[in-house]
Amino acid sequence: MAETQLIVHEPFREAAQQREADALGMWVFLATEAMMFGGLFFALIVIRVIHPQGAQEATNELDMWLGGLNSALLLTSSLTTTLAVTAARNGARGFTIGCLLASAALGAAFLCVKGYEYYVDYTKGLIPAVGKPFPIETTGAELFINGYFVSTGLHAIHLFIGICLAIGLATVVWLRRVPLPGRSIVVEMTGRYWHFVDMVWIFLYPVLYLMDRGG
């Protein structure tokens, strides 16, 4: 019954073809996103290479426990997202909606923790251009912290988009505008994006908070 509900759109000749095209399109898109964050990671690593000392002192300013809490939140949201996808494929509408909202809530919790971290950073004078002057004198520290803001900021924007997608998707599933399991591909695609945003954090967390910590 899944296939009967699947509407084939214009250039496609058959449902499978359309499905594969959507999947491939999503992966190619994720590859472009990976390249974009990759450029940022490259900049961060270069800063670590040219200013090991400053970057280390900057790392020590970041709270690895809050960052770790955030990692846990996102990993959990990845679990709920996976559950949503499986549920959607099985036509379990209610459970799908629940899991999507859970992911959105976990994502929102992440953003709250992040916001709190930013607030702490603000009180320390870490934020560029506003607040107190930068506290660490060692060269490279300020640079690294600025890189931290750009990368976590860009990640937060992505996560915010993910939250909107998840809530929107839950709504349309609830309204039966996206019939399940016929259009479960939509849940699947949103899930791909969500996992990807989680994966960016999987790398951001160690590169920003853990690497070279101590000393």
Binding site: E20, A23, L24, W27, V28, L30, A31, T32, A34, M35, G38, G39, F41, F42, I45, V46, R48, V49, I50, M64, G68, S71, A72, L75, T76, S78, L79, T81, T82, L83, T86, A87, N90, A92, F95, G191, R192, H195, F196, D198, M199, I202, F203, Y205, P206, V207, Y209, L210, M211, D212, R213, G214
Partner: protein, 90 residues
């Protein structure tokens, strides 16, 4: 519900959390010197691989999809490899 919540997914989740815990512990309590960087990144790569393979379903994906995913990493390796070479030999 049993059909919806698969134990496999939960195990994967536990592994991911375990790797996270390991990475945090390592960074906090072990002083691995210069190899610490490699360990940190290695653990993150492990997490990402698990995520890709299971949650992102590369396990059951078409070859083409796997290639698309691999392409991103391969090209990033080019950027890092050739790019860092400059700073490391300056």
């Amino acid at each position: 519900m049993a059909k919806v919540v698969r134990t496999g997914d939960v195990i994967v989740f536990v592994v991911l959390m375990g790797l996270l815990a390991l990475n945090m512990a390592q960074a906090r309590w072990l002083d691995l010197g210069s190899s610490g960087r490699i360990v940190t990144i290695g653990l993150a790569v492990g997490q990402a691989a698990v995520l890709l393979w299971y949650f992102l379903e590369l396990r059951s994906a078409a070859v083409l999809t796997r290639l698309a995913a691999a392409a991103g990493f391969f090209w990033l390796a080019l950027l890092f490899g050739l790019g860092l070479n400059d700073w490391l030999t300056r």
